[in-house]
Symmetry: C4
C-alpha cells in the first residue's frame, strides 16, 4: 500500500541526519496521498540507521493506523491536525534542531532578517503561545497541532507562504508540497535561526528586511513570476533580459 509514498517519506526521513537536523531519533517526516486521504509516517523511536521504507506506518485523517506493524511517531496526532487544517500541504517534518529550538525555548519568533530567510519564508516564522495545563494534560499532541493552526489564523499568516512554526518551549515543525520540500524548509529554518541569533547579538536595531526586499526574494523563487532554478518559465527571460 502506498509503496511509492513510503519510499519518498523514507528518503525524506533519511535526509534529517544527513542535514544535521536530528540527534538520535528526535525527528519525523510524513507525507500524504490527498486522493486516498491517507498519510505515511516514520515509526516512533526507530534509529535512522535501522530504518527501512517498509517500516513506514499508514494513517488515515482521523489519526487511526491503517497499515503497519510498528507504532507510528508519537507526534502523529499533530501531523493529523495539520493535514486536516492545511489542505494544501503534502509533507510535514518535526525536529529538535538546536538553533530553532533555542528560539522556541526563548519564545521568540525567527525574524526575517536576511534574504536567506526571505527566499523561503514570506515573513517571520512565528512561535506559538505556550500550551495551557489543560491542553498539555489531555490530548497533548493533538492540541499541539491545534495551537499551531490557531497561531496562523490569529496572526493571519498563510501556511503556504510561511511553511514552518516554532512550538513554544518545544521546537520546530515545517511543511511543504512534498515531504522533501518540508525537510528543505526545516533546514532553511535552522540556518536562518543560526544567522538571526548572531545578528541579534550584534545589534539591537530594528533590522527586519523591508517588505519590498521580502517580496523580491520570495517571488524570485515562488509563484508565476519566479525565475530561480531550471523549472521556472521566467528563468530564460530573466537571463536574456539582463
Amino acid at each position: 500500500m502506498l509503496e511509492k509514498l513510503k519510499q519518498e517519506v523514507y528518503e525524506a526521513n533519511m535526509q534529517l541526519p544527513k542535514l544535521d537536523l536530528v540527534t538520535f531519533t528526535w525527528g519525523n517526516v510524513s507525507g500524504i496521498d490527498r486522493e486516498k486521504g491517507l498519510f505515511v509516517i516514520k515509526p516512533s523511536g526507530v534509529d535512522y540507521d535501522k530504518l527501512k521504507p517498509e517500516d513506514m506506518v499508514v494513517v488515515n485523517l482521523k489519526g487511526e493506523v491503517v497499515e503497519g506493524e510498528m507504532n507510528p511517531s508519537s507526534d502523529t496526532p499533530t501531523h493529523t491536525v495539520l493535514y486536516n487544517e492545511f489542505p494544501e500541504i503534502g509533507g510535514i517534518v518535526h525536529t529538535h534542531s538546536p538553533w530553532a529550538v533555542s528560539f522556541a525555548a526563548a519564545e521568540i519568533d525567527v525574524p526575517a532578517l536576511s534574504t536567506t530567510h526571505a527566499d523561503t519564508f514570506y515573513g517571520d516564522v512565528p512561535v506559538t503561545p505556550a500550551l495551557t495545563k489543560e491542553e498539555i494534560e489531555g490530548g497533548y499532541e493533538e492540541n499541539t497541532g491545534k495551537v499551531i493552526v490557531k497561531t496562523f489564523k490569529e496572526r493571519k499568516i498563510d501556511p503556504e507562504a510561511v511553511p514552518a512554526v516554532l512550538v513554544s518551549q518545544h521546537g520546530p515543525f515545517a511543511w511543504g508540497k512534498t515531504p522533501d520540500k518540508a525537510v528543505y524548509n526545516a533546514k532553511v529554518l535552522e540556518v536562518a535561526s543560526e544567522i538571526d541569533y548572531h545578528a541579534l547579538q550584534m545589534t539591537r536595531r530594528n533590522i527586519e528586511v523591508p517588505q519590498y526586499l521580502l517580496d523580491k526574494h520570495y517571488y524570485r523563487k515562488h509563484g508565476k513570476n519566479a525565475y530561480y532554478g531550471q523549472e521556472n518559465a521566467k528563468s530564460k527571460e530573466h537571463a536574456a533580459r539582463k
Copy 2:
C-alpha cells in the same frame, strides 16, 4: 571474566568520539554487574582508536582492581562512590564535552528550558558546590563522587529522574540503567546545554518549562504510562486513541 559486559562497556566508550563528546582521551564509561558487585571501566589515557574490549579493567565496589593489565581510569574512585550510593544505576560516563563544561565553569545549573531537556531530565541538571581545599588535596576523585551524592541528597533530586550532574569547574557525569543509556544521557545533556546557552543569551525572562510540561514530556518516555517508541505498552493505545 565479564566478557559480555566488557564488550558492552567498550562499545559505549566508542560511542563517545562518534557522538562528538570527547577530545583526545578525555572521557570514560563504566558498567556494573550488580549480582557480582563488579564493574568494568576504560583504562586511563588510552586513545579511542587503539582501545580494545579486552583492555577494560574490572574493579570491585571497594574500588580495587580485580582483573586487567592496565591502570583503570583515574576517575575510578568517583565511579565507585556513585555505584555504591546510587544502587539503581548500571552505567556511568564522564566527559569534557564543551557545552556542558561551559555551564560547569560558570557554575550554573543547566535549566529545563525545553522539551528536549524534559524528555530525559525531570528538572534542572544541578551543578555541585565547589570542592574544598581539603576535599581536593586528599582523595580528590572519591570526594568528587561524594559531592555529587551530597548535592542530590540536599537538593532532594532523584538520580534516576535526573541522571546527570555538572561537577563545579570540572564537567559532566551522567548515568543510566546501562552504559549505553548513560552515554545517551550525556549526549542529551550536551545538546540541552547548547540550546540553553543560546536561549539564555537571547532572553533574560524566567523561561523554565512549567511543571505540567515537564511531567508530560518526561512521562511520555518514562514509567508505566510511557508511549514513545516501540517497547512501551501504551504506544499502540496512544496511536489508536488519536
Copy 3:
C-alpha cells in the same frame, strides 16, 4: 567553447560544499576569459552533487547567454556588472555562508581585527547600503552589482586590496584573479567573520589592527615584496636573512 575555463569554474564551484560555504544550492562561482570577453557561470539551482563541467553556462559582458542548455545563475547580472567595473578580477563567488550573512543582516562591516583578516583583506570588508525600493523592484541583481561598485568608489576602497563585500541584508560576494582565488577569499571572509563575532562579543574596545600591522601582513602575501609561500621571490631571501 572555453572547455578549460568551464573545468576551472566547475572545480571552484565544487570547493564551496567542501569548504562548508553553501547549504543546498545557495552559491555560485564564475570565471572570465578577458581576451574573449566571455564568462562562465554555474547554472541556477542545480545541486552540487549533480553538477558537471559541461553544465556551465557561457555569458557575454552584456549579460547575454552565448552557450549552454541551462539557465545561468539568477545572480548573473551582478557578476556582469562586477566584471565590467572591476577589470582586474578573473573570478567571482557568491554564497550565503552563515557567519558573513550574520554581519550582512546586522549591517556591520567585518572589521580588520586580526592578522587572519589582514593576510587577505587590506582593511575592513564593507557592507553596502541597503538597496532602495526602486533598485530592488527593477533590475535587482544588476543594481546589486551597482551598489557594490558604488560602495567601493565612495569609500575609496580598492577592490583588488579588499576582494569581498557584504550586500546589506543579503550576503557576501568575493572575487579574485581566478575563480579559485575568489573561493579562497570567500572562505577567509567566513573565518574572519567568525573570529570577529566572538572578539566583538568579548570586548567593546577599539580593537582594529593598526595600519602598520595591516601593512606587514598584507604585504607578506601580496605584491613585489611578498615572502610567504613558494612562488614569491623574496621567500628565500627572507629565510636566509633571519
Copy 4:
C-alpha cells in the same frame, strides 16, 4: 638528514587538519634535534594534502636553511627565537585556530576556568602586548618570538608549565617536549578557549579555578606524582589506594 625527525614533524603537521586546527595552509609545526642544534619545519604555504615528509626544511639555530629545496615557513624566525630562549622545548606549533584567535583579537588571556584547562596549563594562557610599529616593520617574525619570551619573563610564567601563548591580534603558538605534544597543547588551548568564551558570556563573576584545584589537576598529569594514563608510576598505586 634527520629522516626520523622529518617524519615526526610531518606527522605532527598532518594532525592539524585532522584536529580542525587549520584552514588552508595557516599553520606550521617544527621539531628540534637538540644534540645537533638543528630543527625541522614545514615549508611555507604548502597544502596539507600535498605535503610529504621529504618536503620538511632543516634550519639551524641562527635561522639559516641547512637543507631543503623549499622555503621554510615564514614564521621560522619565531621558532628560532623560541628554541634558543626556551631550551627545554622540543616542538613548536603555530595556527590560526578560530577560538584562540578570537581571544588574541580581543587581547584577553585565556583564563584557567576549568579542569580541562588545568590538566594542561598551569595557569592562564597569556596574551602578549601588541608589537610596536618598529618591531613590526623590522624583523617582524623574530620580534614576535622576542615579545613571547619577554611576556613569559615579565609575568614570571614558566614556559614548561604554560606551554602556549596568544600573540596579540595574531594568534596562538604552542610548544611541548615533542612536536606531537606541541600539537596536543594547541588543541587543548582551542577547546579551553571555546569553553571559556561561553562561560564568560554567561557569568561576569570571578570564576578562575582556585590554586589547589589547579595544583591537583596539573599534577595529576605532570611531574613525579602524576597518576593519569599508563606510563605514570603512581597510576597503579592510585588505583589500588582507592
